[in-house]
Symmetry: C2
Subunit: 163 residues, 2 copies
DNA sequence: ATTTTAGATATTGATTTGATAGTTATAGGC
DNA sequence: GCCTATAACTATCAAATCAATATCTAAAAT
């Protein structure tokens, strides 16, 4: 018979958790990532980018964003290497904003945002669209796994360690 | 010999993509999700919650957030059912903010944010901490897969359809 | 009785936002 | 050659939001 102890959401005892918490770096990669993409418009622009929308005017129309706001966010995304500004139509200043590898790497985040919104915020009407995973043909049901063991990741199963 | 066509980032021909884009709902679950969690402070509070930080004062200290801002965000998170305000220490107005199932469901997003920040924004010093997947004991390398086929999800392999 | 702690609210100046209007530069039609 | 349309912005300014500081409340500890 094991002794019953209070456990936290991460599956540790309260004392273990408190001890670890005190030493945790307050500035981590979540904060670093949010400095770059921690803005509603940024996420919406990325969503558009993943749907294939690449031009300023299309973005403005789809998002209903003010031109100054959109220009500012696009500038920031280009500065941070998430989008690149590519001239299309030679001899005119017409540009496309294309996702870089760094930008494409954000796709799973957008997929999870969509999936979470579908599940918890789509109301009784349900979501207006579904994603389809073309290699297998099924509606995409995204799942985050640990690459080492292949199992799904839940908060209770994860600890942290300093580096 | 197949005819060469221009393909977009989603692997379709330009015409197919343009056709689909025109019909796309502009309001989707990404927008719905962002209405709730599309804020830098919200993400940071969630990060703290997943690290086991549950009290107002600890959040304030760890995040360096102004009390009015923190109170506002906590109120919003409770309103949207992501956190619940639970009284600890009977007879005093001392509260813990605990993640609901809806809130716990956001954990994969935080993990991906951290992983993306580690990869692209941690500089030459590298990230200050790593996550460990306790069931297998390895440092967590998160990967988003399609639950139907088990393969990794990349932008090029995903289309959408209306519902 | 006084101080401390936790969890806030109130006030106020600074910053950011976003709606609207205007600018630039080129292409194509008349 | 001139007019209009289109794409991609910039400028302005009122309104909303943010954040620093001070203050408040209620109970516990001293």
């Amino acid at each position: 018979m094991t002794t019953k102890k209070k456990v936290t959401s991460t599956g540790q005892t309260a004392d273990e958790a408190a001890d670890q918490l005190a030493k945790r770096p307050t500035r981590d990669s979540v904060a670093a990532a949010l400095d770059v993409i921690g803005d509603r418009w940024i996420f919406l622009i990325l969503r558009e980018a993943f749907f294939g929308v690449r031009r300023y005017d299309d973005l403005r129309k789809n998002l209903g964003a003010s031109p100054n706001i959109l220009a500012d966010r696009l500038r920031r995304l280009v500065e941070h290497g998430i989008l690149t500004k590519v001239q299309y139509s030679d001899h005119r200043n017409r540009f496309e904003y294309r996702l870089t590898d760094k930008g494409l790497d954000l796709y799973p985040m957008i997929v999870l945002l969509l999936a979470w919104g579908d599940k918890w915020e789509s109301g009784k009407k349900g979501p207006p669209l579904a994603l389809v995973h073309t290699p297998c043909g099924h509606v995409l049901s995204p799942k985050l796994i640990c690459e080492a063991c292949g199992e799904g990741v839940v908060a209770q199963d994860v600890r942290w360690k300093p580096l």
